[in-house]
Symmetry: D2
Subunit: 338 residues, 4 copies
Amino acid sequence: MIIVMSHSATKAEIDAVVERIEEIGLKAELSRGEERTVLGVIGGNAYAYKDAFSHLGGIQEIIPITKPFKLASREFRRSDTVVDVGGLKIGNDEVVIMAGPCSVEGEEMLLDTARHVAAQGARVLRGGAFKPRTSPYSFQGLGEAALKMMAAARDETGLKVVTEVVSPGDVELVGKYADILQLGTRNMQNYALLQEAGRAGKPVLLKRGMSSTIEEWLLAAEYILSQGNRDVILCERGIRTFETATRFTLDLNAVPLVRELSHLPVIVDPSQATGKWTLVGPMSLAAIAAGANGLIIEVHPTPNQALSDGAQSLDFAAFDRMMADVRRLLGAMQKQLA
Amino acid sequence: MIIVMSHSATKAEIDAVVERIEEIGLKAELSRGEERTVLGVIGGNAYAYKDAFSHLGGIQEIIPITKPFKLASREFRRSDTVVDVGGLKIGNDEVVIMAGPCSVEGEEMLLDTARHVAAQGARVLRGGAFKPRTSPYSFQGLGEAALKMMAAARDETGLKVVTEVVSPGDVELVGKYADILQLGTRNMQNYALLQEAGRAGKPVLLKRGMSSTIEEWLLAAEYILSQGNRDVILCERGIRTFETATRFTLDLNAVPLVRELSHLPVIVDPSQATGKWTLVGPMSLAAIAAGANGLIIEVHPTPNQALSDGAQSLDFAAFDRMMADVRRLLGAMQKQLA
Amino acid sequence: MIIVMSHSATKAEIDAVVERIEEIGLKAELSRGEERTVLGVIGGNAYAYKDAFSHLGGIQEIIPITKPFKLASREFRRSDTVVDVGGLKIGNDEVVIMAGPCSVEGEEMLLDTARHVAAQGARVLRGGAFKPRTSPYSFQGLGEAALKMMAAARDETGLKVVTEVVSPGDVELVGKYADILQLGTRNMQNYALLQEAGRAGKPVLLKRGMSSTIEEWLLAAEYILSQGNRDVILCERGIRTFETATRFTLDLNAVPLVRELSHLPVIVDPSQATGKWTLVGPMSLAAIAAGANGLIIEVHPTPNQALSDGAQSLDFAAFDRMMADVRRLLGAMQKQLA
Amino acid sequence: MIIVMSHSATKAEIDAVVERIEEIGLKAELSRGEERTVLGVIGGNAYAYKDAFSHLGGIQEIIPITKPFKLASREFRRSDTVVDVGGLKIGNDEVVIMAGPCSVEGEEMLLDTARHVAAQGARVLRGGAFKPRTSPYSFQGLGEAALKMMAAARDETGLKVVTEVVSPGDVELVGKYADILQLGTRNMQNYALLQEAGRAGKPVLLKRGMSSTIEEWLLAAEYILSQGNRDVILCERGIRTFETATRFTLDLNAVPLVRELSHLPVIVDPSQATGKWTLVGPMSLAAIAAGANGLIIEVHPTPNQALSDGAQSLDFAAFDRMMADVRRLLGAMQKQLA
């Protein structure tokens, strides 16, 4: 932590800051510049103490210099984390496709979709059982019944299963059926849920909060990692901005940047991020070109009849075109599908 | 719901939309303009069906025209809701002050603060027992011990108690001690928690999500209201924008606008919204001038030693100055403190 | 400027940074902490050199510590700037009301409005002659004819005149008629215009860019100040956020914060900031309560017939109610109208 | 335009709206639904009249249904616009690379860069002569001297020249040297400049305003198009969001969406959008994968010595790696460099 004193700070004000630093057991290092004095604060977790100075006079700014996340950082672990989902590797040079309906609406539509996406090269089946919906009057998901259908689809197709859990009390239940626990954008800072998921012994897919900075996202991952669970997959799914022509703004800058800052794998959800199925294909390719480790795509046999998010779901034909484009792109990048 | 057809939509495309409308049991009303055809969709909860058209050709835009919240709307209830918290009224012409530390750090500091703010005219004691913190390494609150300290402070001072609950599993526990359950900004779309709070039989203070629109905020209130709990107090606490000079951007536009759209009381949290104690006084006055029904303010006996959010906490002297200003302002507005 | 080296920076990397610092004529001051090395860079305008290090290895972060604005800062000038507009003082303890139509649409409507607002206590007449409109098909203003009408209204009512200038080539023309040159939100970073306005020898009303940080706003003021023109009045007019229920989000936090950071007066435009006339009254009061030095308000004799921004214009009756409320509020604050 | 009446609107209120519609010469079409009445307004440019209703009682919402841009829309022109810059085609299936220094700092560095990027396959030389800088104390560009250097570099390398113009008064001067006039992000709504550029008889590269919606961007294009200049190239360069880890948030969603809404070519500036050279390569590939018609890239022989934006400039080696990746990607997409 660095404390920048104001241009007009008095000697007494500087002394008071130094005294406070020592009082809380840290060490002060003073640099008197031409224009102002700067204090380096050394030792301990200085980040935790920044409020300790906020009411003292003569301070211009307090700047933390240590990244607040540790276990999630590249500094902590140089090599890429590769998450192993029952043999399926996420985070290496191969690209993983997760696909399926927004909500599980019934057995048949789920199986149809699972068979179709598996045949095209997807390796993970997505599908909502517990749906967090903005309105209490929207369809809220089929709950455990949907989980059972997903498990059945896994048995038939060999796809792994990822599905969202929205409440700490449901972690155990969802964990019984799912291979990967998904934490959604509205729950990225639901710390009770993060901790419970961290203790569940399953890989976790952590979606970025729609208004979370990359730093907060990595801190949310830190909650899971600090429970001993090292199998965290990050998912960029669009952030909220002033632009209303798309549902969210897909922040692909985050993909290469997170790969610099962290060792965790990053996948992209172009369905949520655009809200418009015609944009899903181009943004899927863009995500892979930017270096994403995978995609999670909404696919529905008859999107016009979907109970949720039909506008952003691909039908089978559009999914097939996307997969053909993805394969061609991977070829050019000397990569391949997982 | 209105479906605007593209300029170049064919007759077959228009017919297909009409057919789909009738298929799902709604009624279509066609207006052929000079430039384009517009379809009014009548009956049912058209909002729920908007995805049903997204893959049909020739559509330019689908516009919902019914507000998606009902119980929270002024159309549903003309007169202001006045929440009764054990005799304390929130939502009428009086202004309620809630004050106390960000976190409950110990018995003595809490009691000192409670006595002080009560003497100055506050009616509700705030204080965090379960703290949602961005970093897993920050102080997380004292939990039930803190709840007991707050209850003790209530017994001594007569203040009501408001405190945050962060997990559905804790609603019962927190409800045993608190007079008002607070749902925080990071949990505004934690629907499991909203529903549990809606069933708890206690007034709920619902903070706006830091990146939630006013519509989403009222829909979150709708989750609580639809469980049969009509005692919802809204709290504007700043939204996330590109401006980084303050912690958040306090959206005071929301105060008079929510009073137009809804019958629910609205209070303001200038401590969270600014992140800087020197701005808390001016923004408190601004909030009241804009028509807020109350304030919730962070106060700490020694902010430099606070375990959380010291930078935005008022010390006793600053709180006293603020309260004197508030009284003067209320006088000019022919209002008074609750 | 402070350069924070990465945890894993090598000695050679640190040496390279030190060498580069000295190469550009600055002085390095090294602090070796337990976890990482931090370099203080002393002398010169370090801010200008921050790019000089961006491609060197081993750097975690480069932090400028000097505020980039100088003439606009409180550090440069402790006492408030009071702008003198032909005898009318802006920036002292009195509050100045500027009012008038969005666009000058004709002589009669302008005179009517001018007489009315003057009678109610306004001191400055606002009105658009050159209108920056989002669409090329919207009304663009009457140009010089409108300027003449405003000058005539000044002659009759004694109001000062403020009007927008949108192009460097028009500064001289507008300056012939106006008492205050207004630079609009879309031109806050039109540097050619800022500089021309800085040389015009007239007070300048500088609206905040709708997506400008407070720092950028003060830097835009710096462009004017650095041309020798010290008469800059800042105007907060709402920023662009994700919220669409209002036209912009009025950032009242900016009012007390700018008063801390700068000696320049700050006024508020609640008409532009809300886009909705029913919110103008409450937000005017909020702005004054937050410490604004004045207001600029859109008033139209018949808002439903306005050629621009009727939705946010007050009619005469609404303006009168607002002024009565403003007087009461000022009484409580022991202030008065200018 | 559609006017949605409130649930509780009276017959008199509805009649008053109908009367107003007819008064301004438009035609009303009434639909009485179960819950509320909706009025279709037919004829004329209804968009221009929306303020005409804002003070009438009983209105819930006014919804424009016509896109406000015309000449820029796909509805107006089905086939892609291909801009011809002296034989170089922009907007067809080939991808155009523009590259060069942020600022032209001198003859030698410019020529070195021009030769290098031309050899690697770039077709247009970028370089700033007039620089819009946030601070008045930053380097402002070499002006006409820089323009001459660019023209000389064109003569030697055959590259076309694109450079920014910041003031209407400079359009003629810049047009003498440049093949494409660039309008920067801070000037996207500088209408005087847009119109002047529209009359200059040169292709215009229109950067998106950093806080402009896609609709506003297309309306800015409309200003140019409506002057008779059909050669507009759009450039996505990042928007301002709450995320501060990158300089801006590159909105690649905009690329396929603008291609749907408009016939104009779209290129991408990953240098400005990221502010960090290590992200430029991945985001260049992402932009092309998303369907961009070209890239504009900052390249500098020695970025650590750049007078502006060195942090986001590629050195020659990094540019070469990027170009190799681009070629491979284009191969996979069955496209090629222009």
